[in-house]
């Protein structure tokens, strides 16, 4: 059986160049799919079941890493990257095949030689390695969420997290309130909390997270429950029993 290959690379000139290189270096290899984005690549993987998949890491739709998890155990994966230092280190450690852009012939030859010897083996299970790389990508970004993309009626707007006065969960949606406007996101508070700086935002109620610097005053209502008033909003927020410790000693 002739070995077959899938190529996923979002820039057309580079995709054509890789096809040309493969055709000249490994004429037996049959290129069954050339994909311009991640989602097409996943579909083509299912349809053609290629022996080898060449995947660019940064692609629209789904990243090369996500495509690779779909291709796992089905195809031998070769990653292509321009500059993902973290991923490259992980590839080295996990002995995964990868090519650096611009792709040079000698390096491609070495990769193809290795692939040829492995063709008869079942593809390596790289799921866990990719998981750890993706984890690394996530933690390489700062863990604090700088922006919230929220709906304001039919418009979607980017709101800087430090402008938010408070978040309030209410029946499956989360209200994002700033001094100027209030918007809505579908992210529950528990998913929001890890991305907020613990000294900047406090949870003060099961359904309320407030920006500490927006707190104007702490008070008690007629029933003796603690509440806070804010700068830039007339709304009064409840402080539940479980979170009252935050205000002791302030």
């Amino acid at each position: 059986m002739r070995p077959s290959a899938l190529i996923a690379e979002d820039e057309a000139p580079q995709r054509r160049e890789l096809c040309r290189l493969l055709a000249s270096r490994w004429p037996q290899l049959q290129i069954v799919a050339e994909c311009a984005d991640g989602l097409t690549a996943i579909a083509a993987l299912q349809a053609h079941r290629p022996t080898v998949a060449f995947l660019d890491i940064r692609m629209a739709g789904a990243s090369g890493l996500e495509v690779a998890q779909q291709a796992c155990k089905m195809a031998h994966v070769v990653f292509i990257t321009a500059y993902e230092q973290h991923a490259i280190e992980a590839f080295e450690v996990g002995a995964l095949d990868y090519l650096l852009k611009p792709i040079v012939a000698e390096r491609l030859d070495a990769t193809l030689r290795r692939l040829r010897t492995r063709l008869s083996d079942t593809p390596k299970d790289i799921d866990s390695i990719i998981d750890s790389i993706r984890q690394g990508f996530r933690s390489a970004r700062s863990t604090d969420i700088p922006w919230i993309t929220a709906s304001l009626g039919s418009t979607i707007k980017l709101i800087a997290t430090e402008d938010v006065l408070f978040f309030q969960a209410d029946e499956g949606i989360t209200r994002v309130v700033t001094p100027l406007e209030q918007a809505i996101i579908r992210t529950p508070l528990k998913d929001l909390l890890p991305g907020l700086h613990p000294d900047m935002f406090w949870q003060i109620h099961r359904s309320v997270i407030v920006r500490v610097s927006a707190i104007r005053a702490l008070g008690r209502n007629e029933l003796g429950r603690l509440e806070i008033a804010l700068h830039g909003s007339a709304e009064i927020l409840p402080v539940s029993q479980a979170f009252q410790w935050r205000f002791r000693g302030m």
């Binding site: 000139p13 321009a82 500059y83 304001l152 707007k157 702490l218 008033a229 009064i236």
Partner: protein, 315 residues
């Protein structure tokens, strides 16, 4: 346990503690107050010693230990003593406080300059991913289409020329037309790389071209439009850079990057480039600049920067 937090308007509400005077205000107050301290101390010392001296004179007069002219002489003597002892001390003290105050101010200025420089260096860096990807496309084009490859080298050179010297200049020297040139060289490169998957347009009135505009912020918005709007979109897209003069609340420049790409999706954003732009705008213009990004109902995305015209707040 109450079910959900009910938010109400303020009524029947009794404050326990007021945090109105925030830390920052307090710090500023202390800083501006310090210079006046020696004067106050001198005045206090003057009054206290005046009262004490009067008391002594009254006691002495009551016990007839001094003559009726003594209070006049005493007052003169007292003034001489107070001025001779306390004034030089107060002046020296004031000078020392003043010097410390100055040191703090210059330290703050230095920190601000350092922050400025750091951001500038950060922005002037060519993203390695962008550079290597461009070179990969270029290498591919060398065989496929020599004319295109040539055009790409030219566009890359123009882009590098436009971006690299920014590090040496001070930020305030850049104009809107400089920034547009950087965006155009970048867009030209991307048009070649994405094989005409998008077109672009520039709509900026002549009068605004020479207005000061902070470096590389517009480029960040354009890069975002490509990366998050055009690239993920199937089919052709368009990016338009517009600028106009706004007359509301003092004159300001509103620069917008409009694309018809996939638009924003609700959730949590990690845009570090935008965070940089926001921080820089705050550093340069304080409250007077606005960065906003939104997706209108008809789709696509609009990113905008609004800054005071003629850089009146630019330092």
């Amino acid at each position: 346990m109450c079910s959900s937090a009910k938010i109400r308007r303020a009524s029947g509400w009794r404050p326990v503690r007021d945090y109105t005077g925030s830390k920052i205000d307090a710090a500023a107050g202390v800083l501006s107050d310090r210079g006046r301290w020696p004067r106050r101390a001198f005045l206090g010392w003057y009054l206290a010693s005046f009262l004490a001296w009067n008391w002594v004179v009254i006691e002495l007069r009551m016990h007839r230990l001094v003559g009726p002219a003594a209070p006049v002489w005493g007052l003169l003597l007292w003034s001489v003593i107070v001025v001779a002892c306390a004034l030089p001390v107060a002046l020296l003290w004031e000078r020392r406080v003043e010097a410390r105050h100055q040191r703090e101010i210059s330290k703050m200025q230095r920190q601000r300059q350092e922050a400025n420089l750091k951001l500038l260096v950060l922005q002037a860096q060519i993203e390695p991913h962008f550079l290597f990807n461009t070179l990969a496309s270029l290498r591919a084009l060398l065989r496929q289409d020599v004319m295109q490859a040539e055009a790409m080298v030219d566009a890359l050179v123009r882009h590098l020329r436009a971006v690299l010297p920014r590090m040496r200049e001070d930020g305030g020297a850049s104009t809107l037309s400089d920034q547009l040139a950087i965006c155009v060289s970048y867009l030209e490169l991307m048009v070649t790389r994405l094989e005409g998957r998008f077109t672009y347009g520039i709509d900026v009135p002549e009068a605004l071209l020479h207005a000061p505009f902070p470096p590389l912020m517009l480029l960040t918005l354009v890069e975002n439009a490509i990366k998050h709007g055009i690239e993920p979109k199937a089919g052709a897209g368009r990016i338009c850079i517009e600028a106009r003069l706004e007359q509301t609340a003092g004159r300001s420049i509103l620069a917008r990057v409009v694309d018809d790409g996939v638009g924003l999706s609700p959730g949590l954003g990690h845009g570090l480039g935008l965070r940089n732009v926001r921080e820089q705008l705050a550093l340069w213009y304080g409250e007077h600049a606005v960065l906003s990004l939104s997706s209108p109902p008809e789709g696509g995305a609009v990113a905008s920067i609004q800054i005071p015209f003629e850089g009146v707040h630019l330092k």
